[in-house]
């Protein structure tokens, strides 16, 4: 135990004396979360839209006026027939078309329910989603005003349809993604680098010719990073709660446990990388190309998995980050419990055991 403590203390010296790794450890998470938080904004202003008013009655006119008065939209075109919608989108003049059904006002009064369709150009899915939300909000407000003076419950039913990207999944939920990337980066890259550094410096030779057992070296190497990664995870969650008002609907405890699981998965990957690379440079390259890129691109963090080509969808299954993102989204945004993410958790556990198994097998007690 004393040996282990001594080893861990040495690792902490390394970490705190290397300015670069300190920056990667603590500067990066904060920088990334702020960057993503402010860059992916959900504020829209003066977005060009077109109106297709098939009702042309008092109610529809009132709603159009409300929209025209809002600072978020400007109505640049009034179109007459449904067939013009596609051409107007293709020209790129407008981001959305608002279509009122025939007899909109009559329907609202007689049937107590009327339909309006919001068509959005989802080539920019983030924008499309936001526009749709804003228009719904305006409609809702109008509906509330209408219902205030009467006991009858009038309902305007907005039907949103995203053009070009029908199955839109939100990318706004950047927190799970950033958290995943950071934990992966810190855990896998930093451990693999710190082990290969010993090989490069020649100190691994001395460690091998000592009574330290291989697993003591490995655990000693990863222990500080478990600790630091947990701190990182806490910082990210706090930042997203207090700076960006992202809710944590589920259990914080469960989130913590799952994070530790993912950290261990990443650490196991880091050790695996270090057993196959001889220099820090190789370890860094493998970590960046082999882990970071897939984690960012194929995990559903930035690009929705459902809109990827089938081969990539299949590949995404072997990326641990994919499962962790599902777990984090589930806990933070949907507030679900372990019962709903049991499958994902099990997959991560299996992956971790596999990686640890391979690394222990590959870890050499000699130089070759």
């Amino acid at each position: 135990m004393k040996r282990f403590v001594g080893f861990v203390r040495k690792e902490f010296y390394h970490i705190f004396r290397d300015k670069r790794s300190l920056f990667i450890l603590f500067g990066m998470p904060i920088a990334q979360i702020l960057l993503f938080g402010f860059a992916i904004t959900n504020e829209i202003n003066n977005v060009n839209i077109a109106i297709l008013d098939q009702a042309n009655d008092v109610t529809s006119k009132e709603i159009i006026n409300k929209i025209a008065a809002s600072k978020h939209f400007s109505i640049v075109d009034i179109i007459q027939k449904e067939s013009s919608i596609e051409s107007i989108f293709k020209k790129g003049k407008v981001k959305a078309v608002l279509q009122f059904e025939n007899n909109f006002g009559n329907n609202l009064i007689k049937e107590k329910q009327a339909n309006v369709q919001v068509l959005t150009d989802a080539t920019d899915p983030n924008m499309a989603n936001t526009i749709s939300n804003y228009i719904s909000a305006i409609l809702k407000k109008y509906q509330q005003e209408l219902n205030k003076n009467t006991t009858i419950d009038y309902q305007i039913v907005p039907q949103s349809r995203m053009v070009y990207n029908a199955e839109l999944k939100s990318v706004y939920m950047f927190v799970p993604g950033v958290m995943t990337v950071i934990l992966m980066l810190v855990s896998a890259m930093m451990t693999s680098i710190s082990i290969t550094r010993e090989k490069e410096q020649g100190t691994m030779e001395i460690l091998l010719v000592s009574p330290l057992k291989p697993f003591q070296v490995i655990i000693g190497k990863v222990f500080p990073y478990i600790f630091l990664s947990v701190i990182n995870a806490i910082v990210i969650v706090l930042l997203s709660i207090f700076v960006f008002n992202v809710p944590v609907n589920g259990s914080l405890f469960l989130l913590g446990i799952e994070s530790v699981l993912f950290i261990i998965t990443s650490l196991a990957l880091g050790i695996l990388i270090s057993t196959i690379s001889a220099t820090q440079q190789t370890a860094m390259m493998i970590s960046l190309m082999g882990l970071m890129l897939p984690t960012i691109l194929l995990s559903g963090f930035i690009f929705p998995i459902s809109s990827m080509p089938l081969p990539l969808q299949v590949i995404s299954n072997i990326i641990p980050a994919k499962w962790f993102i599902i777990i984090v989204k589930g806990i933070m945004l949907k507030g679900i419990g372990i019962g709903f993410i049991f499958k994902e958790t099990a997959i991560l556990v299996l992956m971790t055991l596999l990686f640890i198994g391979i690394s222990v097998k590959k870890y050499k007690i000699r130089l070759e």
Binding site: K2, R3, F7, G202, E205, V209, S210
Partner: protein, 300 residues
């Protein structure tokens, strides 16, 4: 006890690093492996410190088999690899502490053993190891290799890249350590250091050329050896190369070391020949061969 090596062979692909090496080091002996880079010294050290497995042959260190009892060896030897292998970002004291801890001991416990060496670097104990001079790094590395009181000490080229003052101090320290019943196997590419060992093995291209005490090795030199100097070194070498009786010539500092093909040679006739080659200030005298002379004779 000590070290025993029999018929060790090791190849990397097509390259044979060690071929059929055998020797014994007695307990408490200071044994030198003398040979140039690429002779196989480091490979041999790695086999004995259980870092590599030999293709053929057996070896024991402190009585333990390098293959079967590698764990016992790792507990009882000290190893200083060829390049500076300490943590550059840790201070002198932290390095020593770390190595004491992983061997399950403390600095205090074995302070006696390293005291001699460590007091010289103790004034700098809060300095990072990376900022030490070559000589101090080497002393720290030796302290770290000694802190667990090893029975056998392996030093792979400890004096390479270190200035003469530090080299001399280093050898003096080894001599003192030897008195504390530590068996020492040291390698060096520098022939002048060979004389400081109890026994040496001359090694080149993975083969041992000779094993003996430094004095015995020198006395085995087969021919009379002459120191020759003249006003122009280049001219002297050229002339001697073309001399029909020349057996070997090697520049040796301000002299040329010369041996003759014949059993008895006539100094005056050689002098006359050299003068005929427009050389002046010619001095020829018999000299004592060095270990380097023997090495070159054996390696020819």
């Amino acid at each position: 006890m000590g070290i025993s090596v029999s018929n060790i062979t090791k190849s990397y692909g097509k390259v044979t690093a060690l071929s059929d090496i055998s020797f014994d080091v007695k307990p408490g002996e200071l044994f030198g492996l003398i040979g140039p880079d690429g002779a196989g010294k480091t490979t041999l050290f790695r086999i004995l410190t259980t870092l590599l497995i030999a293709d053929k042959g057996q070896a024991t260190v402190a009585g333990y088999d390098v293959l079967k009892e590698y764990k016992s060896i790792r507990n009882s030897v000290g190893y200083m690899p060829g390049r500076f292998s300490l943590y550059q970002d840790l201070t002198v004291e932290e390095n020593l502490n770390f190595f004491a801890t992983i061997f399950g001991t403390t600095i205090e416990e074995n302070y006696d053993l390293v005291k001699d060496i460590y007091v010289q670097i103790e004034p700098f104990k809060t300095r990072r190891a990376g900022k030490l001079s070559g000589g101090m790094k080497q002393k720290l590395a030796l302290s770290c290799a000694l802190i667990h009181k090893p029975k056998v000490l392996f030093l792979d080229e400890p004096t390479t890249g270190v200035d003469p003052v530090s080299r001399k101090e280093f050898w003096e320290m080894l001599k003192r350590l030897q008195k504390k019943d530590i068996t020492i196997l040291v390698s060096t590419p520098y022939m002048d250091e060979a004389a400081l060992c109890d026994r040496i093995a001359l090694i080149q291209d993975g083969k041992i050329l000779q094993i003996d005490t430094p004095n015995a090795i020198v006395s085995h030199f087969p021919k009379p050896l002459y120191n020759i100097s003249a006003n122009d070194m280049y001219g002297l070498i050229e002339s001697l190369t073309n001399y029909k009786h020349t057996y070997s010539i090697f520049p040796f500092g301000e002299f040329v070391h010369y041996t003759d093909k014949r059993d008895t040679m006539d100094i005056e006739r050689l002098k006359t020949y050299l003068e005929s080659q427009n050389l002046t200030d010619i001095h020829i005298e018999k000299t004592q061969p060095t270990i380097e002379d023997t090495f070159m004779e054996l390696a020819k």
